[in-house]
Amino acid sequence: MQVLAEVSGNITAIAYGVATLGPGIGVGMIFGQGVQAIARQPEAYNLIRQNMLLGFVLVEALALIGLVAPFIFSAL
């Protein structure tokens, strides 16, 4: 078979780059909207920040799974 294009080296770096796209958008939206909510309702700061951090934690989990996935699947 004729090889037209080839990627050499460690492609897990590319995979992780792709895996950060979604969490990156998510974190941006969470904090952007969180700041907006605080600007509209400064007295609800504690409640908003708590929920903002909860959402951040859940979204960040995806990026973390992306980070460890190459280590898990390298053994397979």
């Binding site: 504690n46 934690v57 989990a61 799974i65 980070l67």
Partner: protein
Amino acid sequence: MITPTLLLATLPFKAPEPGGFHAPGPDIFELPPLWEGAPTWLTKPTLLAMFSAVLLVVLFWGAFGNPKIVPRGLQNIGEIGYMFVREQVGRPFLGKDTDRFMPLLVSIFFMVLVWNLMGVIPFIQFPVASHIAFPIVLAVSVYLLRIVLGMKIQGPIGFFKNMMFPPGVPKAVYILLAPIEFLSNLILAPATHALRLFANMFAGHMILAFFSAVGFYFIFEDFGLLGLPVGVLGTVMTILMTALEIFIQFLQAFLFAMLAAMYIGNALHAEH
């Protein structure tokens, strides 16, 4: 005339490595035992973990060992820390049960915070939590506490029923929801609890090591027209990244304690 290259030749730096600059890899986390003939487990992270524990005991003993009604000195700082954990970590998730779990939450928060700060203290500069064993121990302890507490308070069946079958959902959705809830609560939650701390500290330490290696290599070893600006950039980035790292270390300690409080809160009262 003394050129910078001549000056550097007299300094005890090793010659430029053949093949140019090498970025530091994950092998910077593989540390040998502290001295020749020491037990293999006695490495820098274990020593730092023991040192952090002793440091915390001394600090909190100094703050609360002999408490006064009008706090002075160390007790002031200790009370600010305690109040922070109680108001920001405990109260939102545990409500009136907060005081029962304060010893655990304060220990977790300050333990993780000191572990993380070891990563930016000059000459120590190694975040303990960048070895995954340390966060795993903390996360597994919280996980076991959560399951035991949940089964004790909600009953063995009630605990799983409340977890997998939250009320207020159409019956058919449970086919999808129950496995997802089971997976996310019993497997993904504890795994990401430990991984989050580990991955942040691991990545942060790598970033700092990379930029300081760039700074050192291009200023001291490959001194050229192009080398100096790159080296200065690396050094400046090291300083900026250290500031960012301190913020992230604090945030991760806070999130770790916050999630611990949330999991314990889930065990104490089922979600409605």
